[in-house]
């Protein structure tokens, strides 16, 4: 068992906007691309060109259909990576101390030198956010790009996780949730950011912005108060032309 820090100085994490994510997988591949050659062992791809390619990814997008009681079925794209929980069960379950939560910023990491590949942490994580690398035999997970966000070899404006920098739709945001005035705290407050599976009591740092209510314009029997149906000016072409004549006089 490994201890969690009693508090962390910052709470770094992501806001993921489900109202904006189009499910393009840009974040998935840019994450793979950055992390396969930076923190720790490469993210391998077993049978990369074979029958059943299986690779390690730190971030994946799941697609769900949701059919409301009334209205049309919706499609929701749901990006998922480590949520850097305050009460991270993956850390406390680790037998070697390899899994840990950083006291300065709250990022949950795996010290690969100490990881024995037992997989307990992946079992403990209720989100399925950790993946064992099949080639290296160590546990891989989102590092929140700890090797980018403080990296003095990178221009200051780029010191954010690769998934955030690359997201074409700007559906991902990075910041410090311990600061109520940070971009992520404000966004989460404005848009009703939610914890994923709060009943698990993990206190995830990352927040999801739920899809906005889908307005179906004027479904049968319901008329949009903002845009009532247009009143016809005339029913016949001749009537239209006389309206036109008057309208042209005004121009």
């Amino acid at each position: 068992m490994t201890e969690l820090p009693s508090t962390t100085h910052k709470k770094l994490g992501l806001v993921i906007d489900l109202d904006t994510c189009v499910g393009c997988h840009a974040c998935v591949i840019n994450c793979k691309e950055w992390n396969t050659s930076h923190y720790g062992a490469p993210l391998s791809d077993i049978e990369a060109y074979g029958e059943n390619p299986v690779g390690t990814f730190l971030n994946r997008i799941h697609t769900y259909e949701v059919t409301p009681v009334q209205g049309l079925t919706q499609t929701v794209h749901f990006p998922k990576s480590c949520l850097h929980c305050e009460d991270a069960p993956c850390v406390t379950v680790c037998p070697t101390g390899a899994s840990y939560k950083r006291s300065e910023d709250g990022i949950v990491l795996v010290n690969e030198d100490d990881c024995i590949g037992c997989g307990l942490c992946a079992w403990a994580c209720p989100y399925g956010a950790r993946e064992m690398d099949a080639a290296e035999g160590v546990m891989k997970k989102c590092t929140l790009c700890v090797d980018r966000i403080y990296n003095e070899n990178i221009p200051e404006e780029d010191r954010e996780p690769a998934c955030v920098r690359t997201c074409p739709a700007n559906a991902r945001h990075f910041g410090d949730f311990s600061d109520p005035d940070s971009n992520v705290s404000k966004l989460s407050k404005e848009r009703g950011g939610i914890d994923l599976m709060p009943e698990q009591l993990t206190k995830p740092v990352n927040k999801y912005l739920p899809p906005r209510a889908k307005a179906e314009i004027s479904t049968d029997g319901e008329i949009d108060v903002l845009s009532p149906f247009l009143e016809p000016i005339a029913s016949e072409t001749t009537g239209f032309l006389s309206w036109l004549d008057k309208a042209l006089d005004k121009i």
């Binding site: 490469p42 077993i46 074979g50 008329i223 949009d224 149906f229 016809p232 072409t237």
Partner: protein
């Protein structure tokens, strides 16, 4: 508990040795990329923040570029076929031998009959160069892949308003308040649209998605309209009806900027019925509201009457606008009348119309910016209607696609929302009227160049590419009576026509980056047979086939000679204003690719190879006076070729000192200057020229100065396309140029000069009861327009494509997960795995396109899911309509542009038991690339 000991991390590890900035080629979007190099290898690719296209972001394809440039499917050397066509048996040969063979094949054809070469270049991003080669060679048979992609969109846009979506223009993402997106559109312009949607979402602007399938952009649309495929035009015209009936149209805009006031001969007995009334100088006339006289449209101080009528020479003339009113106010277009066909309730149509009207007319945008129009009138502000639209392949790929795209432009125009703040904005060199483009050329002379560029915009029957007897001159029958306005050619008909000898057989087929034996052809199984079919002398019906590709695609197996191309990181390229530009609404821009890595194989950039071939064939422009090659390679051409004096492939850093923009003499250091500048060049449009571009004098002046035009070219939008009426007159027997009798009805029925809707041809000729279901394909965002669906990372996201069935069919036929289906069209059947999807039009099934692979292709294992469970819908989409007992081959294409009608398909679906693999199951092709790569651990080289 173990004692918690937090390890000390190096928070500033080394990132790279250097960054090289070039242009992505993982799709057609052409984003700027920062390529991180370490130890001579590509370590990481990110978006270039300064780049006008992607502004720093990068999609999945772009990031997966690493797996593409190191893919085991890369061809390694030139090859000649040693087994039967299609087998994939090749031997590697030297470049000297390969180029010698190609020259030996091409030279006699040029000297004898150049049209016996068909040169078509799929996903070509160098069309201004490849067409120049084909023109110098002298064959009329050249085009790229637009004919099977989205030519309806491009041609309808150019003819109607001087530009379409994507490369031609974009919504005013910063200001628009209501955005409507039609059909499969997660493709072209992928990152800019995602960036734009992000901006709309940030400020809570409304997005309406119209698509039978709710994926991608439709998933985040605030309102989803799951329309019946092929009925978009009818839906749009019903919106037009509703808006007009309520007087919610921008009359001032129609008067000032469109041909709505033009007077038209409205006497059906007249020989000029439907043509504009013109003055002696040929200028169309309008009725002046004050003087009641017919005067030229551009007369200073004129007050055009939209409701004008005028008699001259015993003939009545009515304004275009009166015809518009008459047509679209008709009850045929009322929401109640169209509701059943389009699958949308009348109330929803009315609601959407009301929403459009409210945002356009009650939430107008005003920018305090003076500007001057081409009539000399000064305006103290720019007023905009903040509704905008986008559409692409989804509405294009139907046999009624041209008229549907026209309908959408009509909707944009009556709302006054084109080239205004908050609406739709053109990107340089657009707007550009159809008459400012070249016309097609097709005069063939043995041993000589063609008489001009192949592709362009015809203005009447006199511009067709036909013989004296009315037969098509081009192998694809472009610009013939069958499809007169085929601005991008018909690549999808080339193999079928050459095989059939209709209109004539050819000798050499030469293709580049076009997977025509697989996912880029309709009727794939049939095409594979055509490519291997032999005549009575045991010779292939298509005698010689040269193909260039960087990868071991399915098409490689069908070629006789392979000229292996480089990957996009190993080559020079230019994304040119002469070609398919990457400009933005606020700036002109172009860019380059340059070899950020060197090839480790015996491969050459295709454009450099074409220059070499051109020199060997002694083509004019390709050799010096001494007969030596004029250009060393493509980079040399990019720098030194001039299309017009001072105007070359790249507009930036021209002139001896590299300080001239647009126009200027060549600069030997031009490519270095681009590299220094991040791989691109950009020139901002002045503030007073940002909107109203077709009519804005400041913009017109800027466009001339920048070399986009040689003289100012203001014009009005063609709501009414007079050249189309000329075809109808011909079809009615008027004039010297007469279509063949069997095409008269088709021309009259479809070439209406005002937008119309007609039922897609496939539906007209198939039994709707036997084949009740629409079948569509999309390509996933992570693969669209990509040459890399075998990519090690991307195939883990989209390596399997079931047929998605809607709830209604699923329940009716009692399907369960894991089941398979027999899907049958009028021309064939496929057996495929199925999956249920509820966010889908209830009469539509669909799948991801181009996931399925032929066994042995793309360097994949023979057990790859893509070749066993992956499938193509293409097998059951025929390139021809059923025979009509007239002996003619009727193409399954739009009758105006020749656009392949992929999305017209109708099928029936039956449940079958689980199969081992999909049917049809192509015989494996032998792989010309050997790889022992299995497990990949990319990045291990970079660990210290």
């Amino acid at each position: 508990m173990s004692k918690f000991a937090q390890p000390k991390l190096d928070l500033s590890p080394k990132v790279n040795d250097e960054i090289r900035k070039t242009t992505c080629y993982m799709c057609a979007c052409r984003c700027g990329i920062n390529v991180h190099m370490q130890s001579g290898k590509v370590k990481y690719i990110e978006g270039n923040k300064d780049h006008p296209v992607n502004q720093g972001v990068l999609c999945a394809k772009g990031s997966a570029g690493i797996m593409q440039i190191y893919s085991p499917a890369r061809l390694r050397a030139p090859m000649k076929r040693i087994g039967p066509r299609g087998s994939g048996a090749f031997e590697e040969i030297s470049w000297e031998e390969a180029l010698g063979i190609a020259t030996d094949w091409l030279k006699p054809v040029r000297n004898d009959d150049p049209k016996k070469l068909a040169f078509f270049t799929g996903r070509d991003q160098s069309q201004s160069f490849t067409s120049w080669w084909a023109q110098a060679y002298g064959t009329p048979n050249y085009a790229a892949h637009g004919g099977f992609c989205s030519v309806n969109m491009a041609a309808a846009g150019i003819y109607t308003m001087g530009g379409a979506f994507w490369e031609f223009g974009q919504p005013d993402w910063e200001r628009t308040k209501l955005f409507m997106i039609f059909g499969v559109a997660e493709d072209h312009d992928s990152n800019p649209i995602k960036i734009g949607l992000g901006k709309l979402k940030k400020r809570g602007a409304k997005v309406i998605g119209v698509n039978p399938i709710r994926t991608g952009y439709n998933a985040i649309a605030d309102d989803w309209v799951g329309i019946t495929p092929g009925t978009d035009g009818l839906f749009i015209l019903s919106l037009v009806h509703t808006l007009m009936a309520a007087g919610k149209i921008d009359l001032e805009y129609l008067i000032r900027y469109t041909n709505a006031p033009y007077l038209i001969d409205s006497d059906p007995k007249s020989k000029t019925f439907g043509l504009f009334l013109r003055d002696n100088a040929g200028e169309p006339l309008i009725l002046d509201r004050i003087t009641k006289k017919a005067i030229a449209w551009n007369t200073k101080g004129a007050k055009p009457d939209l409701a004008g009528s005028y008699r001259r020479g015993g003939i009545s003339h009515l304004s275009v606008f009166q015809m518009i009113a008459e047509r679209y106010l008709s009850e045929d277009y009322s929401p109640e009348a169209v509701s059943k066909k389009v699958g949308i309730s009348a109330d929803r149509i009315k609601g959407i119309a009301a929403d459009l009207a409210r945002v356009a007319f009650e939430e107008e945008i005003v920018i305090e910016q003076e500007w001057t129009d081409f009539r000399g009138e000064k305006h103290d502000k720019m007023v905009g209607r903040p509704v905008s639209f986008h559409a692409m392949r989804g509405v294009s790929a139907h046999s009624n696609g041209f008229q549907t795209c026209r309908s959408l432009h009509l909707l944009q125009i009556i709302l006054g929302s084109v080239e205004v703040p908050g609406g739709f904005r053109f990107k340089p060199p657009y707007p550009k009227h159809s008459t400012s483009h070249p016309k097609p050329h097709c005069k063939v002379t043995a041993g000589m160049p063609l008489d001009g560029p192949h592709l362009g915009y015809i203005q009447g029957p006199e511009d067709l590419c036909i013989n004296k007897d009315g037969k098509p001159i081009r192998i694809d029958k472009a610009y013939s009576w069958e499809n007169p306005m085929s601005a991008h050619g018909l690549m999808h008909m080339v193999i079928s026509n050459a095989y059939s000898g209709d209109p004539y057989p050819i000798d050499v087929m030469f293709m580049y980056m076009a997977n025509m034996s697989w996912n880029s052809s309709m009727n794939t199984s049939g095409v594979m047979e055509m490519l291997t079919a032999k005549d009575g002398n045991n010779e292939y019906k298509i005698p010689k086939l040269i193909y260039s590709d960087a990868y071991s695609s399915e098409m490689v197996a069908y070629a006789d000679l392979i000229l292996p191309d480089t990957t996009y990181m190993e080559r020079h390229d230019c994304i040119s204003l002469l070609d398919r530009p990457i400009c933005e609404a606020e700036a002109a821009a172009d860019s380059i690719r340059w070899p950020v890595i060197e090839p480790d194989r015996d491969v050459r950039g295709f454009q450099s190879v074409l220059l070499d071939l051109g020199a060997r064939l002694k083509l004019p422009g390709f050799i010096t006076e001494n007969g030596d090659p004029k250009f060393e390679d493509y980079a040399d051409y990019i720098i030194n070729h001039e299309r017009r004096p001072g105007v070359g492939p790249l507009a930036g850093f021209r002139g001896k000192n590299g300080d001239k923009e647009g126009r200027g003499e060549t600069n030997p250091k031009q490519i270095e200057a681009y590299i220094e500048n991040g791989g691109f060049w950009k020139k901002h449009i002045p503030e007073a020229a940002q909107f109203f571009k077709p009519w804005n004098v400041e913009y017109q002046e800027w466009a001339v100065e920048t070399g986009l035009f040689d003289k100012q070219s203001p014009y009005l939008f063609d709501i009414y396309i007079e050249p189309m009426q000329k075809f109808i007159l011909s079809a009615k027997g008027i004039g010297e140029m007469q279509p063949p009798d069997h095409l008269r009805k088709q021309i009259i029925d479809t070439m209406d000069p005002l937008p119309i809707w007609y039922q897609p041809f496939e539906e007209q000729v198939t039994d709707g009861e036997e084949f009740p279901v629409h079948a569509l394909t999309q390509r996933p965002m992570a693969m669209y327009h990509s040459w890399g669906s075998q990519n090690a990372w991307l195939r883990q996201i989209h390596g399997y494509n079931p047929m998605y069935l809607p709830k209604k069919i699923w329940k009716e036929k009692n399907f369960q997960e894991g089941d398979w289906a027999l899907v049958t069209s009028r021309s064939g059947s496929i057996k495929v795995p199925v999956s249920r999807m509820d966010a889908l039009n209830e009469n539509t099934i669909w799948t991801w396109n181009a996931i399925g692979k032929r066994r042995g292709a793309w360097g994949l294992s023979e057990y790859a899911t893509e070749s066993n469970k992956g499938f193509l819908l293409n097998h059951i989409i025929h390139e021809l309509l059923p025979p009509k007992k007239d002996g003619m081959r009727w193409s399954n294409s739009d009758p105006i542009t020749g656009q392949a009608a992929w999305f017209d398909l109708k099928v029936k679906v039956e449940k079958i038991s689980k199969e081992e693999h999909v049917t049809p199951f192509a015989h494996p092709q032998k792989s010309p690339v050997k790889s022992d790569v299995n497990d990949v651990k990319y990045g291990e080289d970079f660990i210290d």
